[in-house]
Symmetry: C3
Subunit: 201 residues, 3 copies
């Protein structure tokens, strides 16, 4: 049940990030809605396809789409009133990344995957929404920016697995993992932190 509400929250913040990415492109309202919807359901859809979970989470439950619709309209209205700071997109993306990374990890666990694969599955679920958003709005994917990005998702899933190993109940370890992802991303965005990069000599 908690997982369901967290999925709804992830869908909402990714929809907001989709609107923020789309507004530079002069789309009409329904075009913005389509970009927001694809961004919002992208990660979870990949998760369900890979784990053969059918029906896909949003196909029989209308609430996801209602939440996307509401988040999109609210964001568009807000944008008419004031201009949010430039990092709003990255902040909304950070929450979506955290929520979907942990939900992807948890579903992979349910499929009896090994820890390594739980980490990969969580990371892929988390980054997919943002990558699709950035590709269809023709932006340089956030995942390619220097600040800690995929690393935050990996750290969050590892923290979740570690806490469970130490006996922390799942109902704490799960939101704990999300907070690790969001916290690392926000700190990295705020202070422009990045790990040593692998670059051309």
């Amino acid at each position: 049940m908690l997982l369901y509400y967290l999925d709804l929250a992830g869908v909402a913040v990714f929809a907001v990030s989709g609107v923020l990415a789309a507004r530079d492109r002069d789309l009409d309202l329904l075009g913005v809605l389509v970009v927001a919807a694809i961004t919002a359901i992208g990660g979870g859809t990949l998760r369900d396809l890979l784990l053969d979970r059918h029906p896909i989470f949003w196909i029989t439950d209308t609430w996801y789409l209602v939440v996307i619709l509401a988040a999109t309209i609210a964001t568009v209205l807000y944008l008419r009133l004031r201009q949010p700071p430039g990092i709003s997109l990255q902040v909304a993306d950070a929450f979506g990344l955290g929520l979907f990374a942990l939900s992807g990890a948890q579903y992979a666990e349910a499929a009896n995957s090994s820890p390594l694969i739980v980490v990969l599955m969580g990371t892929m679920t988390g980054v997919t929404g943002g990558v699709i958003r950035d590709v269809i709005t023709a932006k340089v994917p956030l995942i390619l920016r220097q600040e800690i990005y995929a690393t935050a998702a990996i750290a969050g899933v590892l923290a979740y697995l570690g806490m469970k190993q130490l006996g922390v109940p799942e109902s704490y370890a799960f939101p704990g993992g999300i907070l690790v992802v969001v916290g690392i991303r926000l700190v990295a965005i705020r202070w422009g932190l990045h790990l040593p990069v692998v670059h051309k000599p």
Copy 2:
């Protein structure tokens, strides 16, 4: 049965649009064929994956691939004779958009989805082929241009659902919905129409 022929038609026009998009890229004939094939089967493949319909429509029925092959060769030969006007790509795309939007909607209905989700599923099925084509040929996706695009798909599916609600038999409402999509797109392309856009102040 009608749905089958309309799927074949959608595959054909998206293949044509794939060739038109690929020709700016100086690919060899087989490269063009691969781009055309991926464009043509992209939308329907996503539809079948999301709805867990297996085997995927083109995997056991060779006719789809024969149609793609024929449409590709015919288009390549035609291009050697004369230069079609610049909007040919968008016109072929309009027909593919309409055919796949309605077929996606109809299959979603068969999966007992709510009307909102039928609209989203139709829109995603319709726009996917074009988005993949534009991404792999490194063009700005048509969906990001200002003219009414995703909106046309949404309007066509809504028209289809509305007609059925009013008692119009499905065999009329289905082609009616396709005509709405294609009509809106062609009018929007011809006169450069667009809805009010959501833009940066």
Copy 3:
């Protein structure tokens, strides 16, 4: 069993190609690993999704991910010592293309697909990893370069089918097909060969 080891080999060389593509982007080590992993499993994942083969090959078998991890670390360390020639990426990609094209073809055969569809399935499986890599690292996809690319995959699958038709046992025809793909690509890269292109007059 042989197919399993060849899949592992394909995963390894695509991971190397992912690292080589990612290094121009100044990612941190874990970012590079995520790009390498997505590149390495992309083609096979699409193959399994399209053919409804579950669980997806890497979800229950940790070896794939261990191989990706090892190939990524080895490549990163090697890059600190010396600068490989500019075509290394294309060479690694050629081996991945060949291995996955033939494995995609063979699984499509097992699903009773017709020869035309076996060729398309092989080609799509082969090119997908590279296309995803090039899209997420924001490069012009190799498939759009002039040298023989998709054509090499098609030729390799046709050679495989032809050899089997002539009575060559599968255990020879399969590596034979891979060699055809890799050979054509390496020759095309080395001497800049390309077929006549379809271009704007």
